[in-house]
Symmetry: C2
Subunit: 405 residues, 2 copies
C-alpha cells in the first residue's frame, strides 16, 4: 500500500476545532487507500510561550535544556491529534521524534537529521494505524533530545517520507501553493502548478517561507515529491519535484523577497584571505547564517567585504566581528534598512540576459541596488527596504509572470 | 560522596520565583557536600490544564496518548529548573523519566516502576552535575512513555534514592511534617519527629496525603529513609524510617481522616464466593481501588457485602456492578455521605483494647459507626461525613496525641 506523509503546521492544530479538521482530513486520506504518516508542529504560539518562560529564568539558558523545553510543544500536539483521530474510530499512535527514529547530530537548537530509522513507524503502519510523528525534534546517539530549529517540521516530514519511500510528502499550510511572487505584494501573482527542486530551494532560501530550505534539499537528494497545499481547501496546490528544465522555455519562474536582512561591510580589510577565513569561520562557529558575500577590489592590498545576515543575528555577528577586529586597522559599517529581491528560474542558465532585464526593471523604477549576487538559477539584489515592494512588482511585470506561458 | 535525592512538588515550582528558590536550596545542599538528584513534578495546575485540553477533544482518550500528553508537564519543569540552577553557576542536567532509566510496566496512566537503571544518572553525577529527573513518568520496555498516576513523583524519588543507595530521600511539600492529626481539623495536633514506615503507610493510605502510599511501600522495601519537610522553611520535618517498635510505649501515633469515600452495599448476595470474586476482579480490571471490605452473615445462604471506593470512582464502580448484577436477585445501595477516620500506631498490636478506646471516644460524641476494619497497626471507622471532624478530635483527645509521651 502506498504511503503518504502529511505535515501540518502550528496554525493547523491551534485549537480543538482545527485539530478535529486535521483528523478528518487524515481519515479521508486513509479512506482513499493510503497508509498515512502525519508530522505535526507545536500548537499556534506554544513555542513562543515556552521561550518566554525560559527567558524569565535565564537569558542564556543551556541549549540542551532549551531543546528539552521546546520539544514538549510538539509532544502535546501529537497526543491531542492522536486522541482526535482515535475519537473518529481510526487506529492511531503518536510517536515523539526519538520514538519515531529521528536521529540527529548534537547541535542543540539547530540540529540536523542524520538518519531516520523507520522500523517503529513501519511496524505501527503494518498494524493498520495512522502514525503521528512529532516534527521539529529528534535524538542524538547519546539519547538526548534535540530540536531542528524553526521550521524543522518540514524537514522531519521530508526525511520521514524519504526513509519510508513515500509516494508524496504533503505540506499543509495557510497558503494554497507556491506563487510567482508574494501575493500580498503583487496582486497579479500566479499560483504555480509545478516547481523544480532547485527553484524551490532558491525561492525558499530567498524568503518565500512556505517551505524550509533544508526540507527542499533533503527532498531533492532523495527524490521525494512535495505537494504544498492549503489546510483550508481541497485545491491541489503546487507540486515540487524534478522538472525537465532542458526543454523549458520560461526562464524566470518567480520573484522572491526577504525583508529580514541586514548588511555588514568590513571597510579596508587586507586582501590576504586570513581575515576572510577568520570572520566566516567565527560566524559559522556561532551558527550565524551568512548570505550574499561580495568582495570588490581584491587586486589592491585592501578591499571592502560586504555580506548579509538576518536581522536577529546582526548583534551577534557584530560582536563576533568586533572581537576579531581588535585594534586592526579596518572599519565596520552596517545597514539594517535593506531587503533582498530575487528572480528565480531553472531555465535561467540557458537564457542569457536575464540579469540585465532585472536591472533594467529596477532602473526604470529608480531603485538603487547595493549588492548583487547570482547563482545558476537566481539573481538577487539588495535594495533599500522602503522600495522592496516596488522592486518585486517591477520584476514580476518585466518577466510577465502574471501570464501563463 | 553521599547522595541526597530531593523531591519538589508542583506548587514548589509554580512560577519563576519559586523555581529560583528551589535552585538556591539545591545549590545549598551541594555546598553542604552532597551529590544531589532532584525529582520534580509538573508546575502548579499544568496537569489539570492538559487533562482539560484532552477532554475537549475526547471524553475517552486512549490512555497511552494521555501519558504522551501529561508527560510534557514534568518535562517543562525539569528544563526550567535546570536553566535556573545553571544560571546560578552550578553544573546541571535534566533527564526525562525514560532518560533517567525509570522503567515501568505497560499500565498507562497508572504504571508501576519495575526498575530504575541508574547508569545515566551516575555518569552525570560523576561529572559534578546536579541531576534533575522528571517525576511521575517512565518508559516501558517497548520505548513508550508511561505515567505513574497522581502523586507518582514521590514514588519516582524514592525509587531513584533506592537505586542510587542515597543517604536520604527528602520530600519537600507545603506542610512542615507529619502530624498526629490533620492540623486543619485538630488544633492540638502535634508534629511527629519520627514515624515508622508501616505507620506512614497507613497514614498515607488513610488520607494524610503528604506522601504517596506506594512511595512509602518502596521506601520500606529498600530501607530508604524519607524526610518530609517544608519547601518554605529550614525545619527538619519528619523522618520516616524503620522504628524499633518493640520498646515503644505509645500505642497510637496519629489519627487520619479521609473524606473522599463512598460506601457501596450489595444486599442479599449469595454467599458462595462466585459473586465476590466476580465483583472484585471486575473492579480491579478497571483499576477501581476498593477499601474496607466487610461482609456479615456468611453462614446464611445470602449476605450483605459492604465496601468503599473513592467518590470519583463511584459511578464507574456502580456501572461495573450493574453489569454483573444483570437480572440476579440482589440489590445495590450506595451512600456518598460518609468519611473514614482511622487511628494508626505501630505499637497498637502489642496494646490490646485500642479499638475499644476508639469506639468509646466515638460513642461519647454520639457518632454512629457504619463499617469497621482493622489491621495490625490501624483501626478504621466509617462515620457520617458531617461528623468526621468531631470524630477525629474525639480520637485525638482520647489517645492524648497532643502531648509528647
Amino acid at each position: 500500500m502506498a504511503i503518504i506523509v502529511q505535515k501540518y503546521g502550528g496554525s493547523s492544530v491551534a485549537d480543538t476545532e482545527k485539530i478535529m479538521a486535521v483528523a478528518r482530513r487524515v481519515i479521508h486520506t486513509v479512506q482513499d487507500g493510503f497508509q498515512v504518516v502525519v508530522v505535526v508542529s507545536a500548537q499556534g504560539k506554544t513555542t513562543d510561550g515556552l521561550i518566554k518562560q525560559a527567558r524569565s529564568i535565564s537569558k542564556n539558558a543551556p541549549k540542551r535544556e532549551m531543546d528539552m523545553l521546546l520539544a514538549t510543544g510538539e509532544q502535546v500536539s501529537i497526543a491531542l491529534l492522536a486522541m482526535a483521530i482515535d475519537s473518529l474510530g481510526q487506529k492511531v499512535i503518536s510517536l515523539t521524534g526519538p520514538q519515531g527514529g529521528i536521529m540527529t547530530d548534537t547541535q542543540h537548537t539547530k540540529a540536523r537529521i542524520r538518519e531516520v530509522d523507520g522500523a517503529r513507524i513501519n511496524t505501527e503502519l503494518a498494524q493498520g494505524k495512522v502514525v503521528i510523528v512529532a516534527g521539529f525534534q529528534g535524538m542524538t546517539n547519546t539519547n538526548d533530545i534535540t530540536t531542528l530549529g524553526r521550521g524543522g517540521s518540514d524537514t522531519t516530514a521530508v526525511a520521514v517520507a524519504a526513509a519510508l519511500n513515500a509516494e508524496v510528502c504533503e505540506i499543509f499550510t495557510d497558503v494554497d501553493g507556491v506563487y510567482s511572487a508574494d501575493p500580498r505584494l503583487v496582486s497579479e501573482a500566479r499560483k504555480l502548478d509545478e516547481v523544480d527542486y532547485g527553484e524551490m530551494l532558491e525561492l525558499a532560501s530567498l524568503g518565500a517561507m512556505i517551505l524550509q530550505p533544508r526540507a527542499v534539499e533533503v527532498a531533492s537528494v532523495y527524490g521525494v515529491p512535495i505537494r504544498v497545499r492549503s489546510s483550508f481547501s481541497n485545491e491541489s496546490g503546487t507540486m515540487i519535484k524534478e522538472v525537465n528544465v532542458v526543454e523549458r522555455e520560461i526562464s524566470v519562474t518567480g520573484v522572491a523577497s526577504d525583508e529580514n536582512c541586514a548588511k555588514i561591510t568590513l571597510v579596508g580589510i587586507p586582501t590576504d584571505v586570513s581575515v576572510l577565513h577568520n570572520v566566516f569561520s567565527s560566524l559559522a562557529a556561532e551558527n550565524v547564517n551568512v548570505d550574499m558575500i561580495v568582495q570588490a577590489g581584491t587586486a589592491t592590498p585592501t578591499a571592502d567585504l560586504t555580506f548579509t545576515v538576518t536581522r536577529e543575528e546582526l548583534d551577534t555577528a557584530l560582536d563576533i566581528i568586533a572581537k576579531i577586529q581588535g585594534d586592526q586597522d579596518w572599519g565596520v559599517i552596517c545597514d539594517e534598512n535593506v531587503a533582498k529581491v530575487s528572480i528565480v528560474g531553472a531555465g535561467m542558465m540557458t537564457n542569457p540576459g536575464v540579469a540585465a532585464r532585472m536591472f533594467e526593471a529596477l532602473n526604470e523604477e529608480s531603485i538603487p541596488v547595493f549588492v548583487v549576487s547570482t547563482s545558476e538559477i537566481k539573481v538577487s539584489c539588495l535594495v533599500p527596504r522602503p522600495r522592496y515592494q516596488d522592486a518585486v512588482k517591477a520584476c514580476h511585470r518585466k518577466f510577465e509572470l502574471g501570464t501563463v506561458n
